[in-house]
């Protein structure tokens, strides 16, 4: 009798679990890091992402009537934890993975084709994933690190010219930080500038005085930073301390958030950073998140979150996923889609000016259209500057050096495929 009851219990539990896996909500897991040295930035990322999808549930009842189930998995920005998170969703029909870390992306990239679940690494991850024919399951809309570095170099060129300039590149010693170095290697002889590298180990993120003594010795004309977490404010403080002119110091889009410069305030005036999204709460999408989520208190974010660089970027990340889900539903005619369907959605969404206006993102981000070949999109970035209390946009969108970036991306993608025997590719029309 006892055995029968246990067997029945197990059978019912299995049935419930299986049903839960296959039907019902649209499962969108997100890897977050609310703890650890990168928590300040990670928390903003997580809040914006979750809040936008929660807003869609609250305002629209989900997407096409199907609720979105957004689940966080804490990684602490550690690759091994990210892999654990990834594995924990196997068999549960996750629509897309959002690793929020280049290191984690590199670990799970090869698993995506096998599990038929796409990976979206918005503005991070492996740059080569921009080449859709080589990476059918990975996307890095709306731009890659290769493209971003060329945009920053174009900005420097517009200010002082690149020829005979000396550029210091300070970066987090990781897959993420090293990603754009090939661009410097290739473009230095072409444009006649020289550069030197300053790797900052994660454990030295808050102890950079040696690095900035080296900067003082080398006397670079420009400094570019690929930092994250506590490394960013520490670097800016160290630059101030060593009297480095902040208007010659440009961070990438992960090194130019409100959380990075807010505590520094007036002293950080002049520091610049790349970005691909505007700040502020005037956009209808942000207003809806405030109305349906933040003011109702169904969020982990405080009122200081909406409108900031990283929070708005995370809203955009979630919105792109939501649009891809909708596109997949429309194309397949199914309301409850799979990871395979989602991949189709990610290659076919259309976020033109009209659609951005409809979604409440007009003016905050550039239009972008999904593509089979191009998993990167427009690739443009603009430069913003810290005015002592907030970020101010100081340039229009700067297109990347497309010919150079595309050539390097193609080469890097081919290299990746040749290093991974049996790599799954696709042919695009």
């Amino acid at each position: 009798m006892k055995k029968t009851i246990i067997s029945a219990f197990v059978a019912v539990s299995t049935l419930i679990t299986t049903v839960g896996m296959s039907f019902g909500d649209l499962l969108v897991p997100v890897m977050t890091y609310r703890v650890g040295p990168f928590a300040a930035n990670g928390t903003q990322n997580a809040n914006g992402f979750v809040d936008y999808l929660t807003m869609l549930n609250e305002r629209d009842g989900g997407i096409n009537g199907v609720k979105i189930k957004v689940e966080e998995c804490e990684t602490g920005y550690k690759a091994e934890k990210g892999v654990e998170c990834y594995e924990s969703y196997r068999g549960k029909n996750p629509l897309v993975h959002t690793p929020n870390s280049t290191g984690i992306t590199l670990q799970i990239l090869a698993k995506a084709p096998e599990d038929k679940t796409p990976i979206l690494t918005m503005g991070y991850g492996l740059s080569a994933a921009a080449k859709g024919e080589t990476f059918p399951w990975a996307f890095n809309y709306p731009t890659s690190y290769f493209s971003q570095m060329t945009s920053i170099l174009k900005y420097i060129d517009s200010q002082t010219g690149l020829k005979d300039q000396k550029i210091g590149f300070i970066f987090l010693e990781s897959g993420y930080g090293r990603e754009p170095i090939p661009v410097l290697e290739q473009l230095a002889p072409k444009f006649g500038f020289e550069y030197f590298l300053l790797p900052v180990a994660g454990k030295d993120a808050q102890n950079q005085s040696s690095h900035w003594l080296t900067v003082r010795k080398e006397k670079p004309d420009w400094m570019i930073m690929w930092g994250w977490g506590v490394m960013n404010p520490t670097a800016v403080k160290a630059a101030i301390k060593s009297r480095y002119p902040l208007d010659r110091f440009v961070g990438n889009w992960w090194s130019a958030g409100d959380v990075d410069l807010g505590p520094i305030g007036e002293a950080g005036k002049g520091y610049k950073g790349a970005t691909f999204n505007a700040t502020g709460t005037d956009f209808p999408a942000v207003q809806d998140v405030i109305k349906y989520v933040v003011s109702k208190g169904i969020t982990k974010t405080g009122s200081e979150g909406p409108g900031t660089v990283l929070y708005n970027r995370a809203l955009w990340n979630a919105a792109l996923i939501a649009e891809a889900i909708k596109t997949a539903q429309d194309i397949t005619g199914k309301k409850e889609i799979t990871g395979e369907d989602m991949r189709i959605g990610l290659e076919n969404f259309v976020l033109d000016e009209a659609r951005l206006k409809e979604l409440g993102f007009a003016g905050m981000v550039a239009p972008i259209v999904g593509s089979c070949k191009d998993h990167e999109g427009a690739g443009a970035a603009f430069i913003q500057q810290w005015d002592g209390s907030k970020w101010v946009k100081i340039t229009d969108a700067i297109d990347p050096m497309k010919d150079i970036a595309q050539e390097m991306l193609t080469k890097a993608a081919a290299q990746y495929a040749s290093n991974n025997a049996g790599w799954t590719t696709q042919t695009c029309k």
């Binding site: 890091y33 300040a40 454990k203 030295d204 808050q206 102890n207 040696s210 080296t214 003082r216 520490t234």
Partner: protein, 318 residues
């Protein structure tokens, strides 16, 4: 040939060519070294009293700094917040003695060490739960610690001095002198030294081991608070700060695990050495040498002078 020039000629030519940069490196190294020494001091105190490497010392630095900021954010005046943190640390020292040390007295050193590892992770978990994971700004201005900087013109250039760094060095020196006097001139201090020499003998002459442990853990907490304030003021206070805490390990190996002056001398050697090496010889090795330089020096000491510069030479009779 280029390599030899890079090792033996270029660095010295750069030192002579840019003397202001050289002095800046010495000063920055001195400040970093003083702060490394402060962290190491916390380790030394507990090692002297219980013969255990306190793995939890770095997280105590983070805990002290976060608690201080939290009390202040709750509306408590800055200096009252300091007092509250000290009271909190006395309570923590008492709890650690009651719940861990008392139960493990006379057990193997490795067991005591592992208990501090466990303690470290418990504190990390509890602190993240209480304070959250976001970095916070230190309240050094509210504590009246001067900020700003001035330039000292030198050899056509200049050396920049931060008032915060000067304050850190001054406070560190005062703290070390006070601790030195405390341990050499007071009854408790002499008790500590007796306990450090021989637990059994100390007990037999009526010294309360439990009381000494509470006091030592409390003093290590005081050192952690001072360290947290100054390191936190230089960057932000986050859990990553504990990683810097482990820089104290090579400092201890160089200075000796049981020596207060050794912690300071070791700290200065590492602080100044890593700056000079990184700037002048780092480019030869692709930069980023600061991360391993301290451990490289420590390995040399382990091979040739394992008790460190000032540590007690351990002689065991067979």
């Amino acid at each position: 040939m280029d390599l030899l020039t890079g090792i033996f000629i270029t660095p010295f030519a750069e030192m002579i060519g840019l003397p202001d940069l050289f002095f800046q490196a010495l000063w920055d190294g001195f400040v970093s070294g003083t702060l490394y020494g402060l962290i190491a001091l916390g380790f030394v105190l507990i090692f002297k009293a219980s013969g255990v490497f306190n793995f939890a010392q770095p997280i105590l630095v983070v805990l002290a700094a976060l608690a201080l900021i939290s009390f202040y954010k709750m509306g408590v005046p800055a200096w009252i917040s300091v007092v509250l943190v000290l009271i909190m640390f006395y309570g923590l020292a008492w709890l650690i003695e009651r719940l861990i040390l008392r139960k493990l007295v006379n057990t193997d050193g490795n067991i005591l060490f592992m208990s501090t590892v466990a303690l470290s992770f418990i504190i990390i978990g509890a602190a993240q739960w209480i304070f959250g994971g976001r970095p916070s700004s230190m309240i050094h201005k509210e504590l009246g610690i001067p900020t700003g900087s001035f330039e000292w013109p030198m050899f056509g250039g200049g050396v920049y001095f931060d008032l915060l760094d000067i304050s850190a060095a001054v406070v560190a020196v005062i703290l070390i002198v006070c601790l030195g006097l405390f341990f050499s001139r007071t009854k408790i201090g002499r008790g500590l030294r007796a306990v450090a020499d021989d637990h059994q003998a100390a007990l037999s002459v009526g010294i309360s081991l439990n009381q000494i442990w509470v006091i030592v853990w409390f003093v290590a907490g005081v050192v952690a608070l001072v360290t947290g304030i100054f390191w936190g003021a230089r960057s932000d206070v986050s859990f990553a700060l504990q990683i810097i805490g482990f820089k104290a390990l090579p400092v201890l190996i160089i200075g000796g695990f049981t020596s207060v002056p050794g912690a300071i001398v070791g700290g200065l050697m590492i602080g100044i050495g890593e700056k000079i090496f990184e700037i002048y010889w780092g480019p030869l090795l692709g930069s980023g040498v600061e991360g391993w330089f301290a451990y490289f020096i420590a390995l040399g000491f382990l091979l040739f002078k394992p008790q460190g510069l000032f540590g007690d030479k351990i002689i065991e009779r067979v």
